[in-house]
């Protein structure tokens, strides 16, 4: 039969942002796929070169509005590495705390998007309802629901408010109960099983070769979590077990994220219990020379900032490594052999965020 190319995007409910997936179909079967990105390119790496180190935190927040704290946290770590300073213990714990709150909020946003992708509108309403609780917590500690501008080079902006731990534990206890409902609404749905189990399979070797990281890689059977492998901030003091699944299909990717939310709840409880007293911010130098890079486990995978300073108060060069940028180009491997209707089920499970991908 004649083969033809179809554009899934740039405006398509599947894309969750502005990008284009060109698929080559033979009848209903996908023969090849080709992502096309760059619609949201804002020139971050260039803009950051004319702003002072501290001011860039505002920009890095906006790399991904769903998971802004994890991004500015990564940038601050890289700058600290270059300047040779370290955040005080309480600052490190507050960073871990907000990071994990942000990770849950981000995974819930993904869940809210994945439900309607597969025709399950209830999941959207429920997941956003739960996400609001975590955004309230973030608002309590940082003053804003999104784009918090909270991490600072050398620590965090402010201490946590009075009784914050009490609110936090209350929300987590409530959320643990609600998460069971979420699992049930997805997993007991026969339709959901049919559309995700065995669909969009990616092998472990391929995933590593193409640079896939984060939950997508752990769903392929690789025990790779930078919080455990290359621990930063207070993570060495906290104990947790990375979630690994071996199937490598869309269902495994869904499952990994659901389980990760529970792990994040544990980490928040541990961080609150071990929270040390003392200062939460140290003073960074205004000018810096040298280079430094740090990588963190972002909500979507391995985030890396590489910062070079030439003795000025602005960076000479900043490099942003986005996990989605690599993962999305492994999409053709997951697509081939599946049907056109599966595109949504596969791309939804990767958790695309175009803001960080296009930089």
């Amino acid at each position: 039969m004649a083969e033809m190319w179809i554009n899934m995007g740039p405006q398509h409910p599947m894309t969750h942002g502005l990008w284009n997936l060109r698929i080559k179909v033979d009848g209903e079967t996908i023969v090849d796929a080709e992502p096309e990105i760059g619609y949201l390119h804002r020139g971050y790496e260039k803009i950051m070169e004319v702003r002072e180190f501290q001011k860039n935190v505002v920009l890095t927040d906006r790399l991904c509005y769903v998971s802004s704290i994890t991004w500015s946290h990564c940038y601050c770590l890289a700058c600290e590495e270059m300047m040779g300073i370290e955040a005080p213990p309480r600052g490190q714990y507050l960073r871990v705390l907000t990071n994990e709150l942000q990770r849950i909020a981000s995974h819930l946003m993904w869940l809210a998007a994945y439900g309607p992708d597969l025709g399950l509108l209830t999941a959207l309403l429920w997941a956003l309802r739960e996400r609001e609780l975590f955004l309230d917590l973030l608002q309590l500690i940082t003053g804003a629901r999104m784009n918090q501008n909270y991490p600072r080079i050398g620590g965090v902006r402010n201490d946590m408010p009075h009784d914050f731990d009490k609110y936090c534990l209350k929300v987590i206890a409530h959320f643990r109960k609600k998460l069971k409902d979420h699992e049930q609404v997805f997993e007991q749905s026969k339709l959901f099983q049919m559309r995700t189990v065995g669909v969009g399979r990616l092998s472990r070797a391929d995933a590593m070769d193409w640079g896939v990281t984060g939950p997508n890689l752990r769903a392929c059977g690789a025990n790779v979590d930078l919080r455990a492998m290359d621990p930063y901030d207070a993570y060495p003091d906290l104990s947790f077990e990375p979630i690994v699944r071996t199937e490598g299909d869309s269902y495994a990717r869904y499952k990994v994220r659901m389980e990760e939310m529970k792990v994040s709840c544990d980490l928040i409880e541990q961080a609150l219990a071990k929270m040390p007293e003392g200062p939460y911010r140290s003073k960074p130098p205004r000018r810096a020379e040298g280079e430094g890079f740090r990588r963190t486990e972002d909500s979507r995978g391995e985030a890396l900032f590489y910062v070079i300073g030439d003795g000025d108060d602005r960076p000479y060069r900043v490099k942003i490594r986005s996990p989605v940028y690599s993962s999305i180009f492994a999409a053709p491997l997951m697509m081939r052999g599946n049907k056109v209707a599966d595109v949504v089920a596969i791309m939804g499970s990767i958790d695309v965020c175009v803001g960080e991908m296009d930089k």
Binding site: E45, K46, V50, D209, M229, L304, K319
Partner: protein
């Protein structure tokens, strides 16, 4: 001696590279552009470096530099390779045959910095439009404003 010492020793013996330990589990290697593919192949085969984290191109005043961040998940360490490229001939060999993940990072470095990767299967622009004429991350590509914030008091107007 951990895996970092082993990596440094072997790279010094085989390629006379200036290698150093940056911190735990991180090694920094400075090489010339001609050594890049042999060094990468050696790291992949001898130490199981299976993941390419990113490729950064830097525009220094006297040279270009391609910075490769490579990761080995199995042995849990990272190598940063700084490959020097002369200013008047921005070309370097592609590592896409070794890791498919390098493909998009090399396209990005070509797009934004204009480094040509020899042997790349599909070296076209990725983030910018196909008909864009410049490589904006180069230092000779100006930005509209030098400083973003100008004090009103300094320019003598307004409150």
């Amino acid at each position: 001696m951990g895996v970092e010492g082993e990596v440094i020793g072997k790279l010094r013996d085989r390629f006379r590279a200036d290698a150093a330990i940056v911190r735990d589990r991180v090694v920094r290697v400075g090489i010339d552009r001609n050594d890049l593919v042999p060094v990468c192949r050696f790291l992949k085969e001898a130490f199981g470096v299976e993941h390419i984290t990113c490729i950064t191109a830097v525009d220094w005043r006297d040279r270009y530099e391609c910075v490769y961040h490579l990761t080995s998940w199995s042995r849990n360490f990272m190598v940063q390779i700084n490959a020097r490229i002369p200013k008047d001939d921005p070309r370097i060999d592609s590592v896409t045959p070794l890791w498919n993940g390098a493909n998009v990072h090399e396209r990005e470095a070509y797009d934004l910095m204009g480094i040509v990767f020899d042997g790349h299967p599909n070296l076209v622009r990725i983030l910018l439009p196909k008909d864009f004429e410049y490589h904006p991350l180069r230092k000779d590509f100006p930005q509209e404003v030098d400083r973003q914030y100008v004090s009103r008091r300094k320019i003598g107007g307004g409150g």
